[in-house]
């Protein structure tokens, strides 16, 4: 057989078998299959790589660590509950002996568990994200409305957008240390540093998308605003913002994804408790479980990122006026009987 004929045989599309699969099978079965193939390949390859921290953990080892982390979390919660129970009992006894006794309540200061660290990461992410949105949306609107402002801002967008979060870290750390001086700080410096780095890096997609959305508003609608002589704020609230809301949310969705990605690096370097610090600590810890635990963190980060994206997609659909009609199933019917 000539090599050409062989290639042709290999290249022949396998469409018939795929076409015969029912829709559900394709939507669920194929991802399931690829995941199984991945897990199998992973479990085959992993043991063959030896590191100074032992073998690369396979799927079973990672699953084991997931359970461990959950058990540790439960145990820590149990210890906290027991601590508070003891304290309550002690105070009750003391009050029984002497009703005027001074009662002391202490806060349990255990190590943050894996779940606590995820929650902390999410809080840092949302702080940074809200900060970024508060700057990016107005900036994007102004850029979209005025070509002059856009020309002025554009160089900064182009230059700062590709900068790695790691490059910002030393500057932001030093600036936070110099400016955020307080005897009784409300937030940890590492928290502020991480949040600011998240905002700086996640700002740009929202700015760009908002500016695009605003500048591409239907000219007819802007003409309506002009002939009705709507003032600037009314035009903004009634026309500009609703019209560009879908685009703004596209930007926010991308920004949130970027922010989540940046956050892990920021936490790692700023040493702020969270998933990033967890990874770094495990790496420094260097036990035989560390690699497995880091992999748990990798999958956690991936799944949370995916869920955040889904959440933003939902919100995006809610604010999209173009989808408003599609939400009502009887819309098409009404469209036909609209002129009565």
């Amino acid at each position: 057989m000539s090599s050409l004929a062989l290639m042709r045989r290999l290249w022949r599309p396998q469409a018939p078998t795929v076409r015969h699969l029912p829709e559900l099978g394709r939507a669920v079965g194929i991802p399931l299959l690829t995941i199984l193939v991945f897990l199998f390949a992973w479990s085959q390859v992993a043991p063959s790589i030896d590191t100074s921290l032992g073998q690369i953990p396979g799927p079973m080892a990672v699953w084991q660590q997931t359970q461990n982390l959950w058990a540790e979390h439960q145990a820590e919660r149990g210890r906290a509950a027991a601590f508070y129970a003891r304290e309550a009992q002690r105070n009750a006894e003391r009050l029984a002996q002497d009703p005027t006794a001074a009662i002391t309540t202490l806060t349990y200061t255990g190590r943050p568990t894996y779940v606590d660290q995820i929650v902390m990461s999410l809080m840092t992410l949302f702080t940074g994200f809200v900060l970024a949105s508060l700057v990016a949306i107005p900036l994007g609107i102004v850029c979209g409305l005025s070509t002059t402002v856009n020309a002025g801002i554009n160089p900064f967008i182009q230059i700062f957008r590709p900068v790695s979060p790691l490059a910002w870290l030393p500057i932001v750390t030093m600036m936070v240390s110099a400016t955020y001086v307080s005897d009784d700080p409300m937030f940890a410096k590492s928290f502020i540093t991480s949040a600011i780095i998240v905002s700086i890096c996640s700002l740009w997609p929202t700015v760009i998308n908002t500016a695009m959305g605003v500048s591409s508003i239907d000219r007819d609608l802007m003409n309506v605003a002009k002939v009705l002589r709507l003032n600037w704020t009314t035009t903004l609230i009634k026309v500009v913002i609703p019209a560009s809301l879908p685009q703004i949310f596209t930007g926010l969705r991308v920004s949130l994804g970027v922010g989540w990605m940046v956050l892990i690096a920021a936490e790692m370097l700023a040493q702020h408790p969270g998933l990033g610090k967890f990874v770094w600590d495990e790496f420094q810890n260097g036990s035989s479980d560390s690699l497995g635990r880091i992999m748990v963190a990798v999958f956690t980060a991936g799944i949370i990122g995916f869920l955040l994206d889904r959440m933003m997609m939902r919100v995006h659909r809610l604010v999209d006026y173009r989808a408003a009609c599609g939400r009502q199933s009887d819309c098409r019917l009404r469209l036909q009987s609209g002129r009565s």
Binding site: V227, K238, P242, Y321, C325, L335, G338
Partner: protein
């Protein structure tokens, strides 16, 4: 005598890479209070440019629009526009769209008075029953009715219509023409309507302003429409003068609208001397 709406030597020149393009040139017209004027011409001859200058959306290069003896270069509360497409804000219901305009009247009113005005005009154009629906749920004809109600809600003296029915099917168009005629008779507004539909012009207007073809479009002829008011379609169509008028307009559009013109530079110099 002060004319309510006057166009004097209205000229619009657009700068293009290949030199200035004269869209309309020396358009002169006087429009009386309560008159219904239709501006008729071939597509793209510059009719809409004239309307948009009257509306204040564009500025004339030379000449201009004079309202009650004062030049008007910006949109004003005494003028309201219905565009070719309904242009309703898609995120607001029909009523909210009209309400937005009612709040923009020349004199300030309370919230309740604005709501009453909006409802009155929705009622007048016959779309009160769909007031709570979003534009996307309405047919194009109904949307255009809402757009008309919106324009009326500003309570303007001049209603400017830019080919308002050209996107509708002919049955809906007839229906909306009747609505417009009724509204005009009830409200006594001065109407300037741009159209390329001869029958529409003859049925609705008191006077047809016939435009020549662009570039350098200008008023080629003016036709007084002889049918008595109030009009109904059957009577107009049966009127002995109807076909005479119609043939006159068609004859103009076919033979006289295209005129050989001097070069763009000559036009520019000529228009300079006009102002």
């Amino acid at each position: 005598m002060i004319v309510p709406l006057e166009l004097t030597c209205l000229t619009k020149v657009f700068p293009t890479p290949s030199g200035p393009f004269i869209a309309v040139k020396d358009v002169n017209a006087m429009i009386d209070a309560g008159e219904f004027v239709a501006v008729l011409g071939h597509s793209g001859c510059g009719k809409s440019t004239v309307l948009s200058i009257i509306a204040g959306l564009q500025r004339a290069t030379y000449g201009g629009v004079v309202i009650d003896g004062t030049e008007a270069t910006e949109p004003g509360a005494e003028r309201a526009v219905v565009f070719q497409s309904p242009c309703l804000l898609p995120w607001l219901t029909a009523r909210q769209n009209v309400l937005l305009a009612a709040a923009q009247r020349a004199t300030r009113h309370s919230r309740r008075e604005n709501a009453a005005t909006a409802d009155r005009y929705l009622e007048m154009v016959g779309v009160a029953d769909i007031a709570q629906q979003l534009p996307a749920e309405l047919s194009l004809g109904t949307q255009q009715c809402v757009s008309l109600a919106r324009a009326l809600s500003v309570e303007p003296r001049f209603l400017l219509l830019d080919e308002p029915f050209s996107m509708l099917d002919s049955l809906t168009r007839f229906e909306l023409q009747d609505t417009l005629l009724r509204v005009w008779e009830e409200s006594g507004k001065t109407v300037v309507m741009v159209t390329h539909d001869i029958d529409e012009g003859l049925y609705l207007a008191d006077r047809l302003i016939l435009m020549t073809d662009g570039p350098g479009a200008t008023v080629g002829d003016v036709l007084q429409v002889p049918f008595a008011r109030p009009r109904n379609r059957a009577a107009v169509l049966a009127h002995p003068q109807y076909h005479v008028c119609r043939r006159h307009v068609i004859d103009f559009l076919e033979h006289h609208a295209h005129q050989s013109r001097p070069s763009a530079l000559d036009d520019l110099l000529e228009s300079l001397s006009c102002g």
